[in-house]
C-alpha cells in the first residue's frame, strides 16, 4: 500500500504497532525503519515525526541513520524500487543493456522516480548473486538470472501494477550451485549434537551452579566445560573466515575473560553482512546449513558465557529472513535455543536477526555493532575492541558465518580432527564463491592450501587472464601466480574468486571496484571520504582518454595517503585494485596514457551532454569538435 492510499491515521497506527513491537527502543531503530518502509514504500516525514515521540530521540538521529543506509528512502522512490546489482560480474553478464532496456520500457531515467510515482530503477553494489547474474532487487527481493525476456515481463508487471506477491515465484528462485562440498557443506549433523558433544567433552566434576553470572557456570560440567571447549577451538587452530584471519580461540578467550560490570552481559554476533563483491558463500551456508551456523553460535555462547546472540543479515538477503526465523523457532521448540537449553537449568541463549539496509562498511565489526545499536554504521575508534567493549559497550564476539559453522564441527569432532585438515598455518576448509568467466560458477569448498590453478580447472575456466581473490579489497592474481595457494600463509581470502578471461579489460575491472569503494565509503574520515572520490575521478579521467603519466603518480600518492591515514580497512584497501592492476596489467593502463604531458580532466564536449539531453539533440551541431575551433584554424 502506498502512502497516498493510506490515511494519516492508518499510518500512525502502523508506526505505533511497529515501534511497540520493538519495545519503542531506539536501539532497534534500523528494524523499525525497515518495517515502516516495507509497508509505506518509503519513510514519510509524518512517520519520522511520530518516531521522535515514540522512541524519545531527536529527529536528527532518525534522519542521520536513515540517510546513511542505501536502502532507506526519505523521499518517495516508487511502489516498485528496482536496484540492479552492479558488480563487475553483473556487468560481464550484460546488466548495462538490461538497465537501459528496462528504463526505456518504463519511460524513466536511471536513478529517478517515474512521474506517476510508480517505479524507480537504479543500481546498487554487488547483491551476492554473481554465480547467477545479472541480478536485481525489487523492494529488497532478489531476482537472479535476468534476460531481455525477463526484463520485458518485469516491465509489464510493473506497468500493470501487479503486486509483488503475485509475481511468478520462479523469478525469485535462488540456486545454491554447490559444486564441491567438504566438511561444512556436506555436514549432516543432527541439530544439537555439537552442543551435546561440547558438554560431554569435559571431565565431569559435579554441579558448580553457585555462580549464576551466566549459563556456562550453570551447566553440570561447571567451569571446565566451556574452558575445555575453548581448548578445542584453540587446538583446532581456527582462524576467522571474514578475511582478516584473527585466531578465533584468542578472540573468544578475550571476551570470556573480559570483566562484566553490574547489569552487563556478553554477546555473540554472527556477521552475515556478506558485502564484499563476488562473495556469496554465506548466503549458501545460511540456506543449506543454517543449523550448523546457529549451533556454532550456541557453542560460542556456551564457551564465552553469553545469553544473547544476533545474526546481522545483509539487507540484500532479506528473502532469507523467514526461513532463518523458522530455523530459530524450530530450535527453540527442540530446546536447542531459549531457556534451559537441553534441559539444563540456567542454560539460556537466544538469537535475534538484525537486517542491514545496504552498507558494505557494516561488515567491519565495530561498524556492524554501531549498526546493531541502531546507529550510523561508522567504524569505531579502537582500542577498545569489541571483545571488551562491544554491543552496548559490553563484551562481544563478532565472527563470520563460516567461522561459526566450523566451530560447530570442532565441538562435534574435536580440535585435532580439524587441525589435521588444510595446511599447518591454515586449518580446515575454505568455501570459495566462484564467479566470472568459467563454465561452472558457484560454491566450492576446499581444504586450505588449494592452488588457484586447481580451482580454475575445477570450475572450467579457460584462457584465464586474472583472478580477483577476496574481492576488491583482496588481490588480483595474474597467470604467473596461478600456482599460489589459498591459505593464510600465501593468499588469504574471505571467499570471493572472480575469474577474468583474456577478453576482459582489467582497467575496467579496477574502475568498477574503485566506484564501489567510493559508493560504500562511510564518509567519516577525510582521506577515505574525499580520497575515494578523487580516485574515481582519476580513473574516469583515464577512461575518458585524458590520462598521462602524471595521473599515475597521483594515483600512487593517493594510495599511500589512504593506506596510512584512513580510519578503517575500507580506506586502507580502496586503492588495492588499482595498484594491483597497474603492477600486473600495465598495458591496460598504457593504452589509456594518451598524452605525454598533463591533460585536464575537463572535456568540453562531455560538458555539453546535459544540454544535449535537455534538448534531445545528438546531431553533429550539438557536439564540440576541436578541429573546427582550434587556434589559428578557420572553421
Amino acid at each position: 500500500m502506498a502512502l497516498n492510499e493510506m490515511g494519516a491515521e492508518a499510518l500512525a497506527e502502523i508506526v505505533d504497532q511497529i515501534a511497540t513491537r520493538y519495545q519503542r527502543d531506539p536501539v532497534n531503530l534500523l528494524q523499525i525503519l525497515r518495517e515502516i518502509q516495507e509497508v509505506c514504500d518509503w519513510l514519510p516525514p509524518a512517520a519520522i515525526d511520530q518516531l521522535q515521540t515514540l522512541l524519545n530521540v531527536p529527529r536528527t538521529k532518525i534522519e542521520g541513520v536513515a540517510g546513511f543506509y542505501s536502502f532507506f528512502y526519505t523521499k518517495p522512490r516508487g511502489r516498485y524500487r528496482i536496484l540492479f546489482s552492479d558488480n563487475i560480474t553483473d556487468r560481464m553478464q550484460g546488466n548495462q543493456p538490461l538497465i537501459k532496456q528496462l528504463c526505456e520500457n518504463l519511460w524513466i531515467e536511471p536513478g529517478k522516480t517515474s512521474e506517476d510515482g510508480l517505479v524507480s530503477v537504479d543500481s546498487t553494489s554487488c547483491t551476492g548473486m554473481c554465480d547467477q547474474g545479472p541480478a536485481l532487487l525489487v523492494n529488497n527481493r532478489a531476482i537472479p538470472q535476468l534476460t531481455a525476456t525477463r526484463i520485458t515481463e518485469i516491465a509489464d508487471l510493473v506497468r500493470n501494477k501487479t503486486p509483488l506477491a503475485d509475481w511468478p515465484a520462479d523469478y525469485f528462485a535462488v540456486d545454491n550451485n554447490i559444486r564441491k562440498a567438504d566438511i561444512l557443506l556436506a555436514s549432516e549433523m543432527t541439530p544439537g549434537d555439537a552442543l551435546r558433544a561440547a558438554r560431554g567433552r569435559t571431565p565431569s566434576d559435579g554441579v558448580k551452579a553457585s555462580n549464576t553470572r551466566s549459563w556456562r557456570e550453570g551447566l553440570p560440567s561447571g567451569i571446565s566445560g566451556p574452558s575445555a571447549m575453548l581448548d578445542e577451538i584453540k587446538r583446532a587452530n581456527l582462524r576467522g573466515r571474514g578475511g582478516a584471519g584473527f585466531t578465533t580461540g584468542l578472540k573468544w578467550e578475550a571476551c570470556r575473560n573480559a570483566p562484566l560490570k553490574s547489569g552487563q552481559q556478553r554477546f555473540v554476533v554472527c556477521n552475515a553482512d556478506e558485502g564484499e563483491p563476488g562473495t556469496f558463500k554465506d548466503r549458501v551456508l545460511l540456506t543449506t546449513q543454517a543449523d550448523l551456523v546457529i549451533e556454532g553460535m550456541t557453542v560460542a555462547a556456551y564457551t564465552i558465557g553469553a545469553e544473547q546472540g544476533f545474526i546481522y543479515l545483509r539487507g540484500e538477503y532479506r528473502y532469507l529472513l523467514d526461513s532463518l526465523n523458522a530455523a530459530l523457532e524450530r530450535r527453540r521448540k527442540e530446546n536447542l535455543l531459549g531457556e534451559n537449553i537441553l534441559g539444563i537449568p540456567g542454560a539460556d541463549f537466544d538469537i535475534k536477526i538484525h537486517l542491514g539496509a545496504g552498507a558494505y562498511v557494516c561488515g567491519e565489526e565495530s561498524a556492524l555493532i554501531e549498526s546493531l545499536e541502531g546507529k550510523r554504521g561508522t567504524p569505531r575508534n579502537r582500542p577498545p575492541f569489541p571483545v571488551t567493549n562491544g554491543y552496548l559497550d559490553q563484551p562481544t564476539i563478532v565472527n563470520n558465518v563460516e567461522t561459526f559453522a566450523a566451530a560447530a564441527l570442532i565441538a562435534l569432532n574435536g580440535g585435532e580432527w580439524y587441525a589435521a585438515i588444510g595446511t599447518s598455518h591454515s586449518a580446515g576448509t575454505k568455501i570459495l564463491s566462484v564467479s566470472g568467466d568459467c563454465e561452472r560458477p558457484g560454491i566450492y569448498e576446499y581444504p586450505f592450501g588449494v592452488t588457484i590453478q586447481q580451482v580454475l580447472d575445477d570450475c572450467g575456466a579457460s584462457a584465464t587472464q586474472a583472478v580477483q581473490v577476496s574481492g576488491p579489497s583482496g588481490v588480483c592474481v595474474g597467470v604467473d601466480e596461478f600456482a599460489r595457494r589459498i591459505c593464510f600463509e600465501d593468499i588469504p581470502t574471505a571467499g570471493a574468486f572472480m575469474v577474468f578471461n583474456q577478453s576482459r579489460d582489467m582497467f575496467e575491472v579496477a574502475r568498477n571496484f574503485v566506484h564501489f569503494f567510493q559508493h560504500e565509503s562511510c564518509g567519516f574520515c577525510t582521506p577515505c571520504r574525499v580520497g575515494t572520490s578523487l580516485l574515481v575521478n582519476m580513473m574516469d579521467k583515464l577512461h575518458n582518454g585524458h590520462g598521462s603519466s602524471y595521473d599515475f603518480s597521483e594515483i600512487e600518492k593517493l594510495n599511500l595517503l589512504l593506506q596510512t591515514t584512513s580510519h578503517c580497512g575500507l580506506g586502507h584497501t580502496a586503492c588495492n585494485p588499482v595498484l594491483d592492476t597497474i603492477a600486473k596489467f600495465r598495458p591496460a593502463y598504457e593504452k589509456r596514457m594518451k598524452h605525454d604531458q598533463f591533460e585536464p580532466a575537463f572535456d568540453l564536449d562531455r560538458a555539453l551532454s546535459q544540454a544535449r539531453q535537455m534538448t534531445g539533440r545528438d546531431d553533429s551541431g550539438a557536439h564540440f569538435s576541436t578541429s573546427k575551433v582550434a587556434l589559428g584554424e578557420k572553421a
Binding site: 531527536p58 529527529r59 536528527t60 542521520g64 543506509y69 550510523r376 564518509g523 574520515c525 582521506p527 574525499v530
Partner: protein, 238 residues
C-alpha cells in the same frame, strides 16, 4: 607524574588516560587538528592530527599516550600528508577565503597556511550546497562545512538540544538540523548555545556581525595557528 613518551625527541610527561594530543598540548607542542577540541570527546575523523607512533600512523587525538612511545609529529612526511588532507577538505566544499567572513579566524585557512598549502592541487568538486538564512540570528553556510561534527557534539553534549547531526554517507555526508523543514529557524538553536561558538570554519555565522573585527586584526592575522594557545583553551572552564 612519572610517565613519559618521546615526541620528536622531546620528553613529554602524561597522566593516565591522556591522549597524545592532550599531553602534547599541555607541554606546548602544536599538533595540527580540526575536529579536535579540548572540551569535547575526541572524534578522530579529520585525521589532520595524524602522528607516527612507533613507526605507524595514528590519530593523536584518540590515541592514549603510553610510556616509552616514540612519536613523530613535525616531520616533512607527516606535514605532507596533512597538507594533502587539507587540500581534500578545500576541494570537497566551496571555500572562497577572500569573501568569507571567517577569513583570519578560520582554523582551516590557518592550518593551510601553517602547512604551506600553496594550491588546492586536486580538481574542485563544486558541490551544490544552498545556504540556510532562515534563522533570525544565524546563517548556516554549508559550503564551508568540513564535517568535523564539533557543532553536533556541542549541541548534543553541552546544550542538550541535538540541533545538528550528520546524515548521508560517503562523499554525500552532510550536516542536517533538527527540523522537519530542514530549516534552522524551526529549531531551538539560539545565541547562547555552545554550538554557536565552536565552528572552526565559516559555517555557523552570526548575523549583523559581519567584519566587526577588520581583516588584518583577526586571530590568525596576529600570530600563526602553531604559535597560539588554543583560543578555546582560554575560554574553557577550569
Amino acid at each position: 607524574m612519572s610517565q613519559k613518551f618521546s615526541l620528536d625527541g622531546q620528553v613529554i610527561p602524561f597522566e593516565d588516560g591522556e591522549t597524545i594530543m592532550q599531553a602534547a598540548t599541555k607541554a606546548g607542542v602544536f599538533i595540527p587538528h580540526l575536529c579536535y577540541h579540548p572540551e569535547f570527546k575526541p572524534h578522530g575523523s579529520c585525521k589532520l592530527c595524524t602522528v607516527k607512533v612507533n613507526g605507524r600512523q595514528t590519530a593523536s587525538c584518540t590515541m592514549r599516550a603510553s610510556t616509552g612511545m616514540v612519536v613523530e609529529n613535525n616531520t616533512e612526511e607527516l606535514n605532507g600528508e596533512r597538507r594533502a588532507l587539507t587540500q581534500m577538505l578545500f576541494v570537497e566544499g566551496n571555500h572562497f577565503c577572500p569573501s568569507c567572513e571567517k577569513s583570519g579566524n578560520c582554523q582551516l585557512q590557518a592550518t593551510a597556511y601553517h602547512l604551506g598549502m600553496m594550491s588546492p592541487h586536486y580538481d574542485h568538486f563544486f558541490p551544490n550546497r544552498p545556504v540556510d538564512a532562515t534563522h533570525p540570528d544565524f546563517f548556516i553556510d554549508f559550503n564551508r562545512c568540513i564535517l568535523c561534527s564539533l557543532c553536533v557534539r556541542a549541541s548534543r553534549d553541552v546544550d542538550k538540544k541535538n540541533v545538528f547531526a550528520l546524515s548521508g554517507r560517503g562523499i554525500k555526508t552532510h550536516l542536517i538540523v533538527n527540523a522537519a523543514s530542514g530549516n534552522l529557524a524551526d529549531t531551538d538553536f539560539s545565541l547562547a548555545d555552545k554550538a554557536a561558538q565552536v565552528c572552526p570554519v565559516g559555517v555557523i555565522l552570526q548575523k549583523r556581525q559581519g567584519f566587526a573585527v577588520p581583516i588584518g586584526e583577526r586571530t590568525y592575522d596576529k600570530a600563526p595557528i602553531a604559535a597560539q594557545r588554543e583560543p578555546e583553551m582560554e575560554g574553557a572552564p577550569k
